[in-house]
Subunit: 352 residues, 2 copies
């Protein structure tokens, strides 16, 4: 495990070796040397020495001096689902293409943890930050503002910083309509057979519920409060909600709008407790796309949010000098059952 923990070379080492001053070495190695009128030959000498000795800059030192770091952060609620992990994947690609270093951290939907984590990132002089699905975006904003950190909300909007989110209302309308239309005329769905499960009191859930109700009233002439079951974002709570419904009604609603893939996992847990027959006539719409979810034994219609689009827009906004505090809506896409979409992984070359 250990060998020569030869201390890393610094500009001082190279300065001695090359007979130039540290500032010259620094200038040569960070690219500002032309501006400093360093001779081509001097530069060359130093560059040679640098890679002979495998010099790499100490980025903490650089960051300390310049109060920038070359780091770009992505704050996630959680890693462990396809929506957010795709987001991480797209994010990384973007940041790398700009020559910076992406770092991804999650804060477990805990407002306190969100703020603490961002504090830490700030302490490392992170240059920019994308705040995804934060429980308390404005709390995070307050922390960022104190240090002038550029940031954009994504997925869930805040009121103090620019936000890029899915058009949840439209998406929910599309999804709900698709569920309804998936039933043939003779097996037509009634208003009290179409339920929404999952989500909580955040902007996305509210908009989705609004869209769900609107289209329900338009197409089925009916809706009621009992058709909405917010369960929070946990598989467990969702499962419990399904179990309770099933006990009460002896079956699941034939039309099911599930607020997120995380909540969908609650349905999986429910399924594990019941035979496939309980799901034969069911149609599920899920507001999130998961490739495996798309092929379950009953029709699953999904919404794929345009993650690429959101990330791209977010970076555009951060590039502006004085971005306006507004919320940009990105259109999501309806995914019919049994569909395997390409994802960010397809951009990666496989060396086989």
């Amino acid at each position: 495990m250990e060998h020569q923990p030869k201390k890393k070379a610094t500009i001082y080492d190279l300065s001695v070796l090359s007979g130039s001053s540290p500032s010259t070495v620094s200038a040569v190695l960070n690219g500002t040397w032309r501006k400093r009128r360093i001779k081509e030959s001097t530069a060359e000498l130093i560059r040679d020495l640098a890679d002979q000795h495998q010099y790499t800059a100490n980025l903490q030192a650089r960051g300390l001096r310049s109060s920038r770091s070359g780091l770009v952060g992505l704050l996630l609620p959680v890693h462990d689902n396809r929506y957010f992990s795709s987001m991480a994947q797209s994010f990384e690609a973007h940041v790398r293409s700009r020559g910076q270093c992406p770092i991804v951290v999650s804060a477990c939907r805990d407002p306190e943890e969100e703020r603490r984590t961002v504090e830490t990132l700030i302490s490392y002089s992170v240059d920019e930050l994308i705040v995804a699905g934060a429980t308390d975006p404005d709390g995070v904003h307050a922390v960022c503002i104190g240090s002038g950190l550029k940031h954009v909300n994504i997925d869930l909007p805040g009121s103090k910083a620019p936000s890029v989110i899915s058009d949840n209302y439209q998406g929910a309308r599309m999804l709900t309509e698709a569920i309804i239309r998936h039933f043939s005329e003779d097996l037509k769905l009634g208003p009290d057979e179409l339920y929404l499960f999952g989500g909580r009191d955040d902007h996305a859930s509210r908009e989705r519920i609004r869209g769900f109700r609107a289209i329900k009233r338009e197409l089925m002439q009916g809706d009621s409060d009992k058709c909405i079951e917010p369960t929070g974002y946990s598989p467990n709570m969702a499962q419990i909600a399904f179990e309770r419904f099933y006990e009460r009604e002896g079956k699941l609603p034939r039309g099911l709008f599930i607020n997120s893939s995380i909540n969908f996992e609650g349905l999986l847990r429910f399924m594990a407790q019941h035979p496939n027959e309980a799901f034969m006539d069911i149609v599920v719409g899920c507001y999130d796309y998961d490739p495996f979810g798309s092929f379950l034994p009953f029709p699953v219609i999904m919404i794929r949010q345009d993650i690429e689009g959101m990330i791209t827009k977010a970076f555009e906004i951060m590039a502006e000098s004085r971005p306006s505090v507004q919320t940009y809506l990105i259109q999501p896409e309806l995914v019919p059952p049994r569909t395997a979409l390409k994802g960010p992984l397809d951009a990666i070359k496989d060396i086989a």
Copy 2:
């Protein structure tokens, strides 16, 4: 967006305000003040001022001085699948519980990118590093060694640093046996009906292939090279392999061992092109667990690798002063069809 970008308070600011020296302030705020015999009352004064002014240490400065950072890194091949995103989730929990800051980065299975990324992490004086599923673990090792960075390989072993991996051989035996036994006596599977798809020439794939063949010979008295189709780790290549097989044989093999959930996505893409009837008599075993995958319309048996166990072991090893370069095998678990396991997300409280 902008308000008072009031510069962050430093120990110098607090030193002026409190009438003590910067070193005293530093000692009070980093906990070493008892050792320095600072009066309780002085300490209290400084602490009060500190949170009045929302002081937080500049971690780049601290890191520069102490050449440590409080950061712990996880290097992933990719984010976007449940195996690695679960790993990220578990990793974060571990690191946070130790009071450090987790950072997760991916390197796209590109050896060059792996090394570059680790270089960057080192430049930030990351304290420890877990290298997961690296394409070139020994290359990464070489970079780490140069700077004395503690690191452990996980998922794929290296020859120069301690490694913690799944017992892929045993896992593959379990999985293969489960596939075989899933067929009833009268529909018994023949040796040429059981294929392995996916993976490439890495340690994990080789071991899985070895386990697959061993049990195949034991239970079916037969095996052949044409039953193995390595496709690399990409959905696309796997899809192509399935298509080719299907064209050649007119059907898929009834028994299918898929090397990873990423390759499984190749099967999904294939499925999207063919009606469900093509899969009625199929049994799939997948070396990776994905909750949605477990509920597909045909029996899917999965292997769940013990991610928690691997992470825990990895941190144990890094805690040793002089860890021995060996490979630790962690037993994976067989997951029967239609099973929804709890995951790292269940540890997160939901505020509903």
